[in-house]
């Protein structure tokens, strides 16, 4: 197999279709006899339903059926609904209300207009119970701390450190808001239940739906070839998914529900609010000897959302020999939080990299120099080597591209011509190098067609372009007739795509399937001659088609991983492997300008340099990093869910009030990728980039705001009123 050389420049594989508006997202498929559904959300945060009157709703012309909990009592919650986090609660199966906005009725009608009108006419009577809306309210229930990371003796090292900082940061609740609202369309055809939903996890949709409805999973198909952004919100079986499937089965007609944006703020997952206390101890020369990091993360009353993992990545940023990371969850009455892009790494890096910045000022040291002075040779936590350790290279290259050497050290010392305060900030980021099992099937035809089916989902990150690139790098085929099938359980077995393991899982699997294909082809007629295409060879062999399939495991995984995947589960490995640890790295350099009178904060330019191993498609990877930076700017300066503790709901539950970055908020973003293959992690030398892109970006913005103004704001988002 060929060496791990840089890949050719190629356009995004599905870009042409996308500019033509052609990809059919889940809500776009035209189905004969389609009915439209709409939900009625609960108007209390906790309690129970005492009565439901559906008369007025049912009387709306066009309404086919109003479903309530009496109709769906047979739905089960099963382990198969797992997909990272576990909803653990299926609405509409009983009278209990556990969060505001929980669906209490599902109206199905011939038109969307009729369904919408009727859903508003469902009359629900509740018996309300007391509740706790946020972790700052009385009644919030902290769980015991769990030790997440421990190395050396952090307490002793802290006590003897020459310089220390002890700071607390807060991160608000955020909402993913992928532009595609979550829709579910289900219908029965030829004895099969077919579910279409924009999901990063058709596997959970298939097995979860089957489990909830008591069906044989082999008779349920889940289809999600294009996803209008996921960011982790589309990780799991949604609360709405089985309701729509059950309704379609009951009515014998296709049913579609597009959950309105306002309801998604309550029915879909979110990034939970968190608090972070960080203590750092260093020598006067700037060597960090100790870190103690404790975090609280909000959680639902009945849901585990696994654990938090704020320490996992930041404990690897520097070579800190004495490290203690403790984390706990705080239970309140909310809908379940979930994974949102760099779920723990983003808030963790915001806090930790802000604290490192504070330490640099306490030491009177340049923040970049402090980071470079604490580079690590090996992982200080596990003692194992890194597959690749390139943070210093990212920092160096970023500093050169940004012009960091021109920076004046003192805060509040750089002023632009128009009087704006100028601030330059830096922060580092890391994200685990993960992998998952993957099945790949390659079919090449003499007539020029190639079809690659792979476990994986395309939500815009560019996995189609990444797997396509590996295939085209290795196999002389016609690029214009390449079809890539993803996110479809009828095409091939699927695994959840998230946590930046998509590329790490799928690209080496493609390399393996090409290896098997070449072996088969060579057996038939000897190796390909230079310049000979596979199609020509098949033609010469008078074989219309050659097809091979492989099962591929993540590095160090055993066959049980594949088994777990084939039962609907998740089987991920990394960042710790038996012989090494693996991370992707990034350095962000940010310039902010703060207007002297209004204190409006602008971000005219950002330079981000990342190392994600071998770059499969420079264009899509660059876009991923730029997108991650946009997310960092949004988190730093814009986004927060405003929760009304009296009513327990998100007040700003639309895109006008939950403010995400728009075009005018974003200036120049320069992205560079080191493009250094990581053959120790896998045969393709690849790691993920979608999550690391965001890690550290918000801290770099916050650090730049401090440098501009001399004000250290220890919560996000940083808004005008914080600087007045």
């Amino acid at each position: 197999m060929s060496a791990l050389t840089p890949t050719q420049d190629r356009m995004r594989i599905d870009a042409r279709d996308k500019v033509l508006g052609r990809p059919l997202f889940a809500a776009d498929i035209p189905l004969r006899g389609l009915l439209h559904a709409m939900t009625t959300p609960a108007r209390i945060a906790k309690g129970r339903i005492t009565a439901i009157d559906t008369m007025a709703a049912a009387a709306v012309p066009g309404v086919v059926r109003v479903f309530t909990h009496e109709d769906f009592a047979d739905l089960r919650v099963t382990p198969a609904t797992l997909g990272g986090n576990q909803p653990g609660f299926q609405p509409l199966t009983g009278t209990e209300i556990v969060f505001r906005g929980q669906p209490v009725a599902l109206v199905v009608a011939a038109t969307l207009e009729a369904a919408t009108e009727a859903a508003e006419l469902v009359e629900v009577t509740y018996e309300a119970a007391p509740f706790t809306a946020t972790m700052d309210e009385p009644g919030a229930e902290p769980q015991p701390y769990e030790t997440a990371v421990e190395a050396g003796d952090a307490a002793a090292a802290m006590a003897s450190a020459e310089v220390t900082v002890d700071v607390e940061y807060r991160h608000p609740q955020n909402h993913h808001n992928p532009l595609e609202m979550i829709s579910t369309t289900a219908h029965v055809e030829d004895g099969r239940l077919i579910v279409r939903e924009g999901t990063q996890n058709t596997n959970a949709l298939k097995f979860g739906t089957a489990g909830a409805l008591g069906l044989d999973p082999q008779r349920v198909d889940a289809v999600s070839p294009y996803i209008g952004g996921g960011f982790g919100q589309k990780n799991v079986l949604q609360l709405q998914s089985v309701l729509v499937s059950r309704a379609a089965m009951a009515l014998g007609r296709p049913v579609k529900l597009v959950m309105p944006r306002a309801q998604l703020f309550h029915t879909a997952s979110h990034r939970p609010a968190s608090r972070h206390r960080i203590r750092l101890g260093a020598s006067r020369a700037g060597r960090i000897s100790a870190a103690i990091y404790e975090s609280d993360q909000e959680n639902a009353r009945y849901d585990h959302f696994l654990r938090s993992a704020h320490n996992e990545a930041v404990s690897r940023l520097y070579g800190i020999p004495n490290y203690l990371g403790r984390e706990r969850l705080v239970r309140v009455d909310t809908n379940p939080p979930g994974h949102m892009r760099a779920p723990h790494e983003h808030p963790g890096s915001y806090a930790f990299e802000s604290a490192v910045d504070e330490l640099s000022y306490a030491l009177g040291m340049d923040p970049l120099a402090l980071r470079l002075a604490n580079d690590a040779e090996r992982d200080a936590i596990s003692g194992k080597p890194f597959t690749s350790r390139t943070l210093a290279a990212c920092l160096d290259r970023g500093a050169a591209l940004f012009g960091w050497s021109e920076r004046r050290a003192a805060p509040h010392s750089m002023v632009a011509e128009d009087g704006s305060l100028v601030g330059w900030g830096v922060a580092s980021g890391a994200y685990k190098g993960t992998m998952c099992p993957c099945v790949a099937r390659l079919r090449v035809q003499a007539d020029g067609l190639t079809r690659l089916s792979v476990s994986g989902h395309e939500m815009g990150q560019g996995i189609r372009s990444a797997v396509g690139a590996e295939l085209m790098e290795l196999l002389p085929i016609r690029a214009d007739r390449l079809e890539i099938r993803l996110g479809d359980t009828t095409a091939i077995d699927q695994h959840h795509t998230a946590g930046s393991w998509g590329t790490g899982g799928a690209v080496p699997a493609v390399r393996a399937v090409v290896g098997r294909f070449m072996a088969a082809l060579t057996e038939l007629g000897g190796p390909l001659r230079p310049g000979e295409s596979v199609h020509t060879r098949l033609m010469a062999l008078k074989r219309p088609v050659l097809e091979v399939e492989i099962e591929h495991l993540g590095t160090s995984q055993g066959p049980d991983a594949l088994e777990r995947m084939r039962r609907g589960g998740v089987a991920v490995v990394g960042p710790e492997y038996p012989d090494f640890v693996s991370f992707s790295w990034i350095a962000h350099f940010v310039e902010v300008r703060v207007e002297p009178t209004t204190r409006r904060i602008r971000v005219p330019r950002v330079v981000s340099v990342a190392d994600c191993g071998r770059v499969m498609n420079r264009r899509t990877a660059t876009s991923q990093v730029a997108g991650g930076v946009v997310w960092g700017i949004g988190a730093a300066l814009r986004e927060a869910a405003e929760i009304d503790p009296r009513y327990g709901f998100v007040l700003n539950n639309d895109l006008a009030d939950y403010v995400v970055p728009v075009n005018a908020d974003i200036g120049a973003i320069t992205v560079d990728l080191l493009d250094i293959a990581d053959p120790m992690l896998n045969a393709s030398g690849v790691r993920g980039v979608g999550e690391v892109a965001m890690v550290g970006a918000a801290a770099a913005v916050a650090n730049a705001v401090y440098h501009a103004t001399g004000k250290r704001i220890r919560h996000l988002p940083i808004r005008i009123d914080d600087l007045l």
Partner: protein, 205 residues
């Protein structure tokens, strides 16, 4: 698992069967409709109050009875199978549904379908063709001004209007004029570059 242990494929209770009434048995996937006009023939009548409108969609004249409450976006998507325009909010807050009405950009979700009676509607499906992309479409490809592609039809329709309005004269103006179109994937840098590029080719840079 033995065959005998298998759960029944589709357990329906007697109540389901009764209540479902005369529901149509099985659904089948329809091929995408090539002509908007042809599609109106087979669509069921709307159950609510309706009004009949005559409009031109992507160059094709059509007459259709629409629910008076229906948005242009829902009529395009649900009645005419023109699903290029997307729904990202249904409240005029995201721009995913941007189409042209008489050459001007509008949020189709905020436009009542009844309002386009006598007007011309252009959607992404009517902008360019596979063989002859609009310069803006080509520029979006060249600058990778998209990721998931969900906002893209709306971005491109807004971008073409932005150029025609004379708003593509600087990056700052483009950014302001395009701020009604959210890209949650964060492709803004590419979008601005694509518009600058296409504006020059459209002769209005």
């Amino acid at each position: 698992m033995h065959d005998d242990d298998r759960p029944p494929a589709f357990p329906l209770t007697r109540r389901d069967t009764l209540r479902a009434g005369s529901a149509v048995a099985a659904a089948s996937v329809l091929p995408p409709l090539s002509s908007a006009a042809a599609s109106t023939q087979s669509m069921p009548l709307e159950p609510g109050a309706t009004t009949t409108i005559t409009t031109v969609v992507n160059g094709e004249p059509i007459t259709i009875a629409v629910d008076t409450r229906a948005s242009l976006l829902d009529v395009l998507r649900e009645r005419l199978a023109l699903t290029g325009a997307k729904k990202g909010c249904d409240h005029g807050q995201c721009g995913a549904c941007t189409v042209h009405v008489d050459g001007r950009r509008v949020a189709a979700c905020l436009t009542l379908a009844a309002k386009v009676d006598g007007r011309e509607v252009t959607t992404i499906e009517g902008l360019g063709e596979e063989a002859a992309l609009h310069p803006m479409q080509q520029a979006f490809i060249d600058h990778d001004a998209l990721q998931c592609g969900y906002c893209t039809p709306g971005q491109i329709m807004a971008a073409v209007a932005c150029v025609r309005e004379g708003n593509a004269t600087s990056r700052e103006r483009i950014r302001d004029a395009m701020s009604g179109n959210i890209c949650r994937c964060g492709a803004y840098v590419g979008i601005v570059a694509a518009i600058e590029d296409a504006a020059a080719k459209m002769g209005q840079g």
